[in-house]
Amino acid sequence: MNWTAIKAIYLFEMARFFRTLAQSLISPVLSTSLYFVVFGAAIGSRIQEIEGVSYGAFIVPGLIMLSVITQAISNASFGIYFPKFIGTIYELLSAPVNFLEIVAGYVGAAATKALFIGVIILITAFFFVDVQIAHPLAMVAFLLLTCLSFALLGFIIGIWAGNFEQLQLVPLLVVTPLVFLGGSFYSISMLPPVWQTISYFNPVVYLISGFRWAFFGTADVPIALSLVAIAGFTSLCLLVIGWIFKTGWRIRQ
């Protein structure tokens, strides 16, 4: 492994993040605070407890997931799309690095940024609601796996995208609906039976359910199933990326 190259890519990408640190942090903190004010205080006070948890606290795992997934995808997709767009990709393609090293650098940096924002949102949440974390280790593990797997998805989107519109397309049209309908703001059990069945086809349900279990000890789906789902999703993304680099799809002529 060319660890020096991985480190170089990782640090270069992180430098971009730190250059715009204020922007990177203000936006998620502000939007999370708004969610807490609206859903937690204004509407949440009229909603009864869900599975023994106040509504304000109940939405914390979902809110973190929403931001983490969005950030992981946008950072990773932009990270690899930008060199394609401005042409600096030539350097990556001509460097003595293999695809695993390129992915490790870009996805590692995007996942770190997403993790950073996830932690900031968790800290913000403590200011608004009383959050208990029943299984801290599991919480960290789910958070890390989510950052990683969605950064992988973002990387694929960045390779696929031919322009900035396409770069926004998947997050807007696919990911945001999946996250909102994945039980970020409600329990799947609150849905009518038909919609519950449909929801089980949404991969994000398993993530949020597992993450919520780590906080409150209750889940929509068994925790083992959540783990299998996220492991399967990560493997699928890795397989696709492996294929991309093997064939040079959209990057090498």
Partner: protein
Amino acid sequence: MPPILNISELRKSYSDGFEALKGVSLQIDAGEIIALLGPNGAGKTTLISTVCGITTATSGTVEVGGHDIIRDFRAARSMIGLVPQEINLEPFEKVINTVRFSRGLFGKAPDDAALERILRQLSLWDKRNSQIRELSGGMKRRVLIAKALSHEPRLLFLDEPTAGVDVELRKDMWEIVEGLKADGVTIVLTTHYIEEAEAIADRVGVIAKGELLLVEDKENLMARMGQKQLDVQLSEPLSAVPKALEKYDLILCDNNRTLTYSYDTRAERTGITKLLSDVSAAGLVLRDVVTRQSSLEDIFVGLVHEDMGGAS
């Protein structure tokens, strides 16, 4: 010593059937500067891109320092530096960071002293903390070179390094290339400018339509094809070459007002003195005397033209 670059029967076809390289073979020795000349779309950039790993070859092999570029890509690519034709740089990044990134990407441990030496050599040291977007076009091109040199490559590809730059900068670039050669770096450059090849290359290759038409020592090439002409311009037109001057194989042109004499500059006697005294003895009045030398350009145009003609 084995060649530092050994290209053998390299072919590249695109999915639309276009054949960009049609079996190119080329050996380059360590320490030389070779210029690849060719019109647009000749396959120069494809050749470089394939050697560097940006484009995948359809068939053929390439070895860099004895390392196959596919099987042993790490060792091969570590030896190569590439300066692309387009100015591809991240606009908001600082010069020093982008150069540091390049060095790391090629697996070299951080070495600020080495980077300082490279940046100083390229007159970029004062600009090291500037963002790329603040630099002039010429400076940006130097940053591209600094990036390519950051990992201390043994083989440097310069893809049209002076395309669209002013004369002064072009001269600067030539000096940089000379300096690199003195450091023992082998340089392959592509260019449209014949004068560039003439000024700095040891060998010249001519590419057209994906084929390497010729690779030859520049001096030999120019000597072999480099005849010189003397135009004797007359005050009054002639009806024919005077009998006394027939032995010089003169050509009467320019509405019979100019006598053109071809000679070899390396010959012991060029015959110019004798010719001019015979012209005077024949009673002809001179208006002017001009000499012309075949440049690489004439040779190049001749070769490419022949090839195009043959293909059509």
